[in-house]
């Protein structure tokens, strides 16, 4: 009987300990997460993803040839520009990059035909991934451009300066992507 009561008290103590441990783990995790968010570059990555997406959307609006150099300043982020989104990450292996939508258009897949332009417009969209930074001491820049050809087709492109890049769906597999 005495032994049994002790046994119950022992189990209750383990539950109490488990509750304290759970609280401690969650508390430490919360503090770590909050510190990471404040010290880290999440805000900067969010800003650059949105800013770059807006810049690309403004390029789409251009009625003529246009080029724009986007300087990352002190940040050494790796950027990926896909059909409808911009992804920003710090390392190539990062599994959860910050992303933002780019409202592109589907003229590349489907010609837009009007009375004025019976041949239709064609826009080729950028599909580029930065694989690595070449010189960490130099700033990373992107050149965003829209170029029209005589037949009304246009290219919206992204080229990187001081970074090795690959084209998604073409040669990114060579870089493990």
């Amino acid at each position: 009987m005495r032994k049994k009561r002790g046994q119950y008290a022992n189990i209750e103590l383990w539950f109490l300990l488990a509750a304290f441990l759970l609280g401690a783990v969650a508390g430490i995790d919360l503090l770590k997460d909050a510190k990471d968010r404040l010290d880290g570059t999440l805000f900067e990555k969010n800003f650059i993803a949105r800013d770059l997406a807006m810049a690309l959307e403004a390029l789409y609006a251009s009625p003529g040839d246009m080029a724009y150099t986007y300087d990352f300043g002190p940040y050494k982020f790796l950027v990926e520009v896909k059909d409808n989104e911009v992804l920003v990450k710090e390392k190539a292996a990062e599994t959860s990059p910050v992303s933002y939508r780019v409202i592109g258009n589907s003229f590349s897949d489907q010609n837009y035909v009007s009375f004025d332009n019976p041949e239709g417009y064609k826009i080729r969209r950028p599909n580029m991934r930065m694989v690595s930074i070449i010189d960490e001491a130099k700033p990373v820049k992107l050149r965003l451009f829209k170029e029209f050809s005589d037949n009304g087709t246009s290219i919206v492109g992204v080229e990187a300066e001081n970074a090795q890049t690959c084209l998604i769906g073409v040669n990114c597999a060579d870089f493990g992507g």
């Binding site: 209750e12 997460d33 999440l42 949105r50 807006m54 939508r101 258009n105 589907s106 003229f107 332009n117």
Partner: protein, 170 residues
């Protein structure tokens, strides 16, 4: 003896809801703290404005273009281009990304000349939420933001183009 044993087992069982409540309290505290650390900036209104500029200035938009010179006549709407099919091709947005309504109204006769949508179904789903969010200061991740805009254009007659773009939170 039996009563005491039953009381002890009951106390042990009570630890299950205690632990569940502890988890709820921890998650709620975490949620409240993290909600106050802002890492996102809502750029929906700028995005909506850029998209409207794109329709008005780009040859892929809704305005007239001279086929020989390639010149875009900003503000002169080509009614043939102002339809849902061309708008959706021009601003290829996923259903979860953006929805918009375009209404072209004659300034003289005050009648509707054209009405078209981008992601019409999404627009109709989001509109009540957007109206509610627009009229009150509610918080939450499911918010939808309305961005109404009026532009004065020429479409064979003086008219105004009333657009409402709805963007999700994020």
């Amino acid at each position: 003896m039996n009563k005491k044993g039953a009381t002890l087992s009951f106390e042990m069982l009570m630890w299950i809801p205690r632990l569940v409540f502890l988890i709820i309290v921890i998650m709620a505290t975490q949620g409240i703290i993290l909600a106050y650390i802002a890492t996102n900036v809502n750029v929906g209104s700028i995005e909506s404005h850029v998209l409207m500029q794109r329709l008005q200035f780009s040859p892929e938009g809704i305005v007239n273009q001279d086929s020989i010179t390639g010149r875009v006549y900003t503000g002169v709407v080509d009614l043939g281009k102002l339809n849902s099919h061309n708008l959706e091709a021009s601003l290829e947005a996923e259903k979860s990304e953006l929805a918009a309504r375009f209404v072209l109204i004659s300034l003289q006769a005050e009648n509707e000349l054209a009405r078209s949508y981008i992601n019409r179904e999404t627009y109709e789903d989001w509109q009540p939420i957007a109206i509610f969010v627009g009229s009150s200061d509610v918080a939450g991740t499911g918010r939808k933001f309305p961005h109404p805009e009026t532009r004065y254009v020429y479409s064979g007659e003086p008219s105004r183009l009333e657009t409402v773009v709805i963007t999700p939170n994020g």
